[in-house]
Symmetry: C3
Subunit: 230 residues, 3 copies
Amino acid sequence: MTTTATIVQSRNLYMAHALALVESEEIGENTRIWAFAHVMKDTRIGRDCNIGEHCYIEQGVTLGNNVTVKNGVNVWAGVTVEDNVFLGPNCVLTNDPNPRAYIKKSAGSLVETLIRANATIGANATIVCGVSIGRYAFIGAGAVVIRSVPDFALVVGNPARQIGWMCICANRIPMLVGQELLTCPHCQRGYRRGENGLEPLPAACDASIPGSTEFSSFHSVISTEPSVEG
Amino acid sequence: MTTTATIVQSRNLYMAHALALVESEEIGENTRIWAFAHVMKDTRIGRDCNIGEHCYIEQGVTLGNNVTVKNGVNVWAGVTVEDNVFLGPNCVLTNDPNPRAYIKKSAGSLVETLIRANATIGANATIVCGVSIGRYAFIGAGAVVIRSVPDFALVVGNPARQIGWMCICANRIPMLVGQELLTCPHCQRGYRRGENGLEPLPAACDASIPGSTEFSSFHSVISTEPSVEG
Amino acid sequence: MTTTATIVQSRNLYMAHALALVESEEIGENTRIWAFAHVMKDTRIGRDCNIGEHCYIEQGVTLGNNVTVKNGVNVWAGVTVEDNVFLGPNCVLTNDPNPRAYIKKSAGSLVETLIRANATIGANATIVCGVSIGRYAFIGAGAVVIRSVPDFALVVGNPARQIGWMCICANRIPMLVGQELLTCPHCQRGYRRGENGLEPLPAACDASIPGSTEFSSFHSVISTEPSVEG
């Protein structure tokens, strides 16, 4: 299996590395699946996804569109991943809160996890099942999440606690106690506090549509000022 | 290697996925070994084990019966795993407490780790070698264990500290300081403090034999009330 | 792919397991690459390296000589690994401090990480990009590193903080506040405080050359007294 060329097979409209094992029949166009990854049957994978090496996507899982799954990630049955989510390298998901090898559980007893659109799970973070990760939430590298995370929240540590907010533009917004309106110091987007974390003010809402031309302009902002772990 | 059907080979009495690499000659019946896993020669694997994808079982390792090894786990020489142990996804074991690439150590200098029967190691937990994980102990997801853990203890955090006890039925028993006798609030099993953590009172002892018919009744209890990370 | 013999192919002067995927043309002699590992093209791997199973070495990466990469490690573009570094099992490196799946970044915007010669990254540790890990530094198992680490520093926890120093001989040297000269209690090497952590005094400098006969004598010291997690 040593070879000097990467072999990529194009089947239908997605691509799979020759050393990937792909059994799903519902994979969107332009999705790429890399070596030693296994996508099981009865999974639904959106378009434009990138599934890294040594990943495992279990039967029953749904990944939205444009999801990035970095190397070494297992997505278990019971986990739902919405559009534009970033699953960092070796982050760990779960579906059983109190496993014992001698207690065999049925598929119906799995505890679910929901990762909302545009969220980021940092490298080597752990998500204990039964929680919801909010829209645009940002789980720092190595964090251990044991409760649900609000929209736009930035959490770090073990157990994870909130230390700020994370803008659509991927830069940090400080937590200002008692302040109803917040502005990103990097891109000037405005937010207000809502029922589940922050809500972008209307102008920012429009800008948050992935695929819009505005996203290319994010690049110069974020590449010059790395601010938090991820 | 892209295929639309999972191929499982039955050899003797155990099963190995066609993309697993199995070199051991001592594998018990009904054990299953999944894709991209490598079970080296000179390992001893019990019956009814489940060895997940991308696992590695190193030469010299012994796994007991009914051990669950979730995806992405490396079991190194020097680690002993007793019956009914659950090794959560991507949990990390070790056998060298102070590695340096320029100091080559002999196999004889490895530092051992013992994982006692019925224990659970949570997802992405780290076990520093030289410790013993007690019977029925429960290592929370993402915990970093640097000292031995008593029987039935529930530990979490980095470094891991005890926050409670974990019953045979996989539900949490609060730590009550100065109390010699404890009762599980979920299944009413009784325990007393012993030399190494808790000891089940006689009635619970009988119930703790895996394979007994009682275990099927655990299911309804634990699936309705997920209580701790794992 | 189930087989009872490990097949190792010798090509030029290095070895690759038959189930490794090796695309690099710059691999030093005596380097070994194991099953289900992927070494991409346009990587530079030194001599005497050991690249474990399920590893991934990305395009553009340079590994020095005698680097140990334990199982399950991804070395991303932007990470530079100097000679004699130990990358513990499942340790996690990164190259993007604030990833979002909907923000596509160019290779030029990756944030770099430098792991200096003789350093050790412990099992399941996480290194947030943009930092430098000092010479002989020792990152404890499960640590989450979010800032640069001085030479010879021993750091643990999430986030990682310094709790001592780590000698060339892989034993711990206590942090003594206000003391300019420090001596390893195990091997008696002397150090002084320098601009970036400790600096070995001249005698220790000579002893620190890997490959010198002195290194074999380390073994008896360290195998009898495991002192810190790694």
